[in-house]
Assembly symmetry: C2
Homo-oligomer: 160 residues x 2
DNA sequence: GGGAATCCGAGTCATCCGGTAGGATTTAGC
DNA sequence: GCTAAATCCTACCGGATGACTCGGATTCCC
């Protein structure tokens, strides 16, 4: 598995929030119930989302959570990264500010890291998919109660 | 981390084998030494590669391993899958023969699985990167002892 | 002030990862 | 046929992480 249920649950949570129209916050228990997910576990997840400033919370009675920004402006790389942590295909793979990439194996002399080319491509494939998908898309997608009509899922990073 | 060191070590092993010209098998200890990886651990990994019929082994003295097919015909999705197991972005995500995809959450009625669109895109990004890279490429890439000239790493799934 | 909610930290149980250990089996070369 | 070099196989082990649960502290509306 590339990702754990943290990403799964967290994304669902976000979608559920995005689904709500109003300005009033939604309580976690409401979300948990409607998605049939364990409430106490969700607390940890939503905490990460809050620290990443993707959701805003109001405490006390009638409190809850809501999106910190409109769903169109939230891309899924932010969400997944908040939940799963820095997303890299491999341990030895560190991204530095400048779009470049470091590899721990490099520097044991001469030869290039044999796997770097591969992981870089994978990395780019994943981030392109995540960054190219907005929360709004997912909300709309899941909201379509009508028949699926075999969704055209490709639209990201593909020219053909 | 998307992948564990199993993929890392295993790919390195494959590259090392691809690097060898001759028809004689290479002993695991030789590979382990040259890549500075623990031999006894590599045994487990190479076993998976053998079961996947990516390498062939000859036992006894002067035995070892060699590629089962020419490096140009080995794509990295086969290698990574042999090492890490079925590669899916999420637990609930099962691919069935017909290119379609199943989701365990589907069928709890009406609504579409909110995350399906996202994971499908991720999946496609990863497999395209893996399947679009051959072992031969990695061998050549790592063999270039010359200066890196800031490798053009993008070439898969990108039109630009 | 009571209750509904967010917060926070600790603890638990299982699984997997990375690696070790020990030995059985096969084979080339003497 | 003995020995050394190699593959094979199974079991084990310590640590990390995942997927939770629990208890309680805090905040705020009514």
């Amino acid at each position: 598995m590339l990702f754990s249920t943290k990403a799964e649950y967290g994304v669902r949570l976000m979608v559920e929030l995005g689904r709500q129209p109003g300005a009033e916050p939604v309580s976690l228990s409401a979300v948990a119930e409607s998605e049939r997910l364990p409430l106490s576990y969700m607390e940890h997840l939503v905490a990460k989302l809050r620290k990443a400033e993707l959701v805003r919370s109001t405490r006390g009675a009638h409190g809850g959570y809501k999106l910190a920004r409109p769903a169109e402006e939230i891309t899924m790389d932010q969400v997944v990264e908040a939940l799963e942590g820095q997303i890299a295909p491999m341990e030895c793979f560190h991204e530095v500010p400048e779009g470049k990439v470091l590899c721990s194996h490099e520097g044991d002399g001469h030869r290039l890291c044999a796997t770097k080319l591969l992981w870089t491509r994978v990395q780019s494939g994943v981030t392109r998919a995540l960054a190219g998908t907005t929360l709004a898309e997912l909300v709309e997608f899941s909201g379509a109660d009508g028949d699926p009509e075999e969704l055209r899922v490709e639209a990201v990073g593909t020219a053909a």
